[in-house]
Amino acid sequence: MLNPKEIRKDFPILDLQVYGKPLVYLDNAATSQKPNQVIDTLTTYYRNYNSNVHRGVHSLSIKATELYESAREKIAKFINAQSDSLIYTKGTTDAINLVAHSWGVNNIQAGDEILLTEMEHHSNLVPWQILAKRNGATLKFIPVTESGMLDLSQLNTLLTSKTKLVAITQMSNALGTINPVKEICKQGHAAGAYILIDGAQSVPHMPVDVEDMDCDFLAFSSHKMLGPTGIGCLYIKKSILETMDPVNHGGDMVKEVTLNHATWNDLPIRFEAGTPNIADAIAFGTAIDYLTDLGMDQVQAYEEHLTRYALDVVKGLSENFIFYGPPNPAERGAIISFHCPEIHPHDIGTILDREGIAIRAGHHCAMPLVNGRLGLPATARASFYVYNTEHEVDVLAASLKTTLQYFNR
């Protein structure tokens, strides 16, 4: 089992005090903290290697290119992909938009159907709304059950000969639900659809293997997995990637340019026009090293253990708080979403902040799920990572009790 106390030593921010209390950082589904290794990679790069990539003949540029491309190889290996199938993006949102603007615009036609779920983050919903309007396609949704799981009993009828794309999250950012994406890929492909997986929450917290899952697209972000903000990746199955047109045009993505014509560079560089986010890509590679050293099996096992512990502890609060998401810790990530009829989530968030506890309150960019399906204005959400401890779960539970006493004084 991972030892969070050892891991914490690598994260300087976790030593902070907030309002005189030790920081209890439980907003990892929004963004994770960064270990010294990642922070040092950024400063080392700017101190020693800073240079533009790909076109330079001088030593610094060669070194920067080598680091940038070796990070891509590490990230690709992390999800069991080839590095020429992996495009650097700004993050998950940027990656999904790239698919919509390139593959989507050319392949989704009038009358086609795009199958989503009711639990998608806005970033895996709004790009498809826009594309559907633009190309005359229809959106359909896999419903969510009372316990926050996908109702897959309807999958067979929702998948039709018109379904061109299934775009689905592997782990709900609002509830933590882990969806059976491998089975959905299988059924989706059998119906002739392409499959996009939003891996923003899953890739940081569990082993993800694109070959085994057999998805066509996988999007994920560095900043939710110990790396810097502003960098993420899009995996695209090679046979599909080869047919896709670049969305951004300019330097680095071209091979030969005349006054009236240009040819595209090799894959995947043709999708990375302009000077890329070099330092953050390299530091993302360091975050991947860190997680690889921990072992993603170990990461998942520890988080499942912590979730089990948390669900057990919060049972003592069930008189006043309602907890959402699958009851079985094996079917969910380390995200605890809850609501208290007596206290609005934002008031809970403000009061916990004064206890040093960072949680998130709101619709978690999943308004159709939280406001629509659950019928709540907002939920409070505590989300964990490898450095969180059982003690922090206890602090959260105790503070929720004092919050209740304070508010109902």
Partner: protein, 154 residues
């Protein structure tokens, strides 16, 4: 709550008894049939919602006012106090109160005479120490301003 807990004591600046009372027992919270003015305010950041419904006199005084909505204690208490405070007032005067209240929650200094006009709204003064919650306190007032400016436009 134990008075030895300093961090909870700082919370008393924002969660005063008056605020919690208005939150738990909102005044004038009801739908109004056939209002002269209706406006819906929504804060996408936290999902707070306030819908104001107003009937005006022929002299543009607030004859009746009610609200519906959902949200945090600050936004809902602010709406509840608003309905009590501006009833019977001329819309011009309500805009003056709105401006004074904006200054109050932004932490600007306010004279005693102005403070008198703000009545129970003074209980929301502490919001100025919680910058992310200022929007919550102002939501009903922005909604009122929208309602009145729409009325003028029509």
């Amino acid at each position: 709550m134990s008075s030895s807990n300093t961090s909870f004591n700082e919370l008393d600046d924002i969660y005063q008894d008056i605020i919690l009372d208005h939150y738990r027992h909102p005044r004038n919270k009801a739908k109004m049939p056939d209002p002269d003015l209706v406006s819906r305010g929504f804060n996408p950041f936290c999902g707070d919602e306030v819908i104001l419904m107003i009937k005006l006199s022929t002299e543009n005084q607030i004859n009746t006012i009610s609200f519906t909505g959902q949200g945090c204690s600050i936004s809902q208490a602010s709406a509840s106090i608003l309905t009590e405070l501006i009833k019977g007032k001329h819309i011009k005067e309500t805009m003056e109160i709105s401006n004074m209240f904006r200054n109050l929650v932004k932490g600007l200094s306010i004279g005693d005479e102005e403070l008198d006009k703000l009545g129970e709204l003074e209980a929301l003064k502490g919001v100025s120490k919680f910058p992310v919650r200022i929007k919550c306190a102002l939501l009903p007032w922005s909604t009122l301003e929208d309602a009145i400016s729409t009325n003028k436009a029509s």
